[in-house]
Each structure stands twice: as C-alpha cells, then as structure tokens.
Symmetry: C2
DNA sequence: AGTGGTACTCGGTACTACTTAGTACCAAGA
DNA sequence: TCTTGGTACTAAGTAGTACCGAGTACCACT
C-alpha cells in the first residue's frame, strides 16, 4: 500500500515509541520491524530522523553498543517521559479513530 | 482533545470528502459539522484551504448560490474523481488502522 | 580489492494543517 | 446611523513531519 505518507504523519512516531517500549532496540531493527508490520514504504532515513527527535525531546535513553556484524548500534529505551508520551499517543489515536468511524457510519 | 494537528494530516481531507459525499454543502457548514463530530479544533481557514485544494485537483463540482443570512455560498459536490478519491481514502484508512492495531496488540 | 549487508548522519524537499489578516454580506440593537 | 455579531470566503505565510539523497563507516566474504 503506497501513498500513506501524509496519513502517517503524527502516527509513525507513536509506532516507533510503541516498538521501543516493547523492547530496547535500535534504528535499523526498528525499520525492519515496521516493514514487516506492513509499513512497507518506511525507510531508514525516516526512522533515524524520528529517533534523533525523540532523543532531542528527552523521551528516550540511548546506549551505544558494538555490533558483531557492522558498525556500533544506538539502542533506545523509553524513559518516564517517553512512556507518558506513548500513553498520550494512544489516547489521541483512540480519540481520532473513534471520531473517524463515527463520521463514516453516521451517514450524514 | 488538542494536539491532534499532526495526526489529522492526510485524514482531514478524507473527512471533508466524506461529508461532501453525503450531501452537497459549503465550507462554513462543513466546519460546523466537523466541530460537532468531535474535531473541535478544526477552524474555518483549514477547511477552506482543503476545499480550494479539492477544487484545484478536480475532485468536486462547485456551485455558487446566494444565502439568506450572509454572503453567497460555494456549494461542493463530489464528481466521479472525488468518489474514487474517497474510496481510496477509506482503503488507506482501513489499511493503516489495521496495521496500527496489530502493532499495538502484538506485544513482544 | 571489491561487493553486500549493516548502521548512522545531515541537508534539503514536499505536503498539510494551522495562523493571521483581510474582504464582504446581512440583521438586529444602541 | 453606527456598531456589533454571525455568516462566508480568500490569501500569504508558518511549523511540523515524512521522505529523499548523498555521504560516512564498520564488518565478512570472495
């Protein structure tokens, strides 16, 4: 499915937060995970910009660790602010999706 | 609920298409309808920019009619391209929301 | 030495919702 | 008459986010 770019705005960051919240992980793996989840067009550059933003906004704790198969990895874990942000994200998502579905069914 | 701005990107236009698809209507009324549907922070300026974009992209048929309580209104109705675009929007929405919910439940 | 997979950074672009200011019509009250 | 408030649209500019492109760099295998 392509042409999702605009619709992803505001939600992709939340998806990344959710993934990080499940398990401490790093950019390259997050991209792969998103791809296998059906976000097939999301590429690495996009994920890295989100990760840098999360770091800048103080929502994650970052740990650099060596890799056995390539350059060192930056592992990300949610801190308290990040968990709070994730909860807010889901609240917003629930709100939005319920309104949208209401609009769809409320034939006029 | 505030702070929905980013999340609305890509979906608000679809909502406007849906509203127009239900009934020929005009900008001011669309804004009111969105507000009562729960999109409380959406303001007129935003709706008008969407309507101008829809018109520019050839998705609507526009008819100007006098109003009894103010300046003339521009009524919008979907044409074939608009109905097609609306169907595409819902397909994208279904796809995205199913992936997001899958991510949410797929704890791991 | 070269290729391919892994891993991150950074400058710039495109698109969309929002902001702000402006124009303009009409009715009712001071 | 003037003002206020509700109705109705336009247009220029801002901010935020996903995407693009190029670059750097590590490692294993051939």
């Amino acid at each position: 499915m392509d042409g999702l770019t605009e619709m992803l705005k505001g939600t992709l960051e939340g998806c990344v937060l959710e993934i990080i919240g499940n398990e401490e992980t790093y950019g390259y793996a997050i991209t792969r995970r998103l791809n296998e989840l059906g976000f097939t067009d999301v590429i690495e550059g996009t994920v890295y910009t989100i990760l840098l933003r999360l770091e800048k906004n103080g929502l994650v704790q970052v740990t650099k660790r060596p890799s056995e198969v390539g350059p060192p990895r930056k592992f990300y874990a949610l801190n308290d602010a990040g968990r709070q942000e994730l909860a807010t994200f889901w609240a917003k998502w629930d709100y939005l999706s319920s309104r949208i579905n209401q609009l769809r069914e409320g034939g006029r």
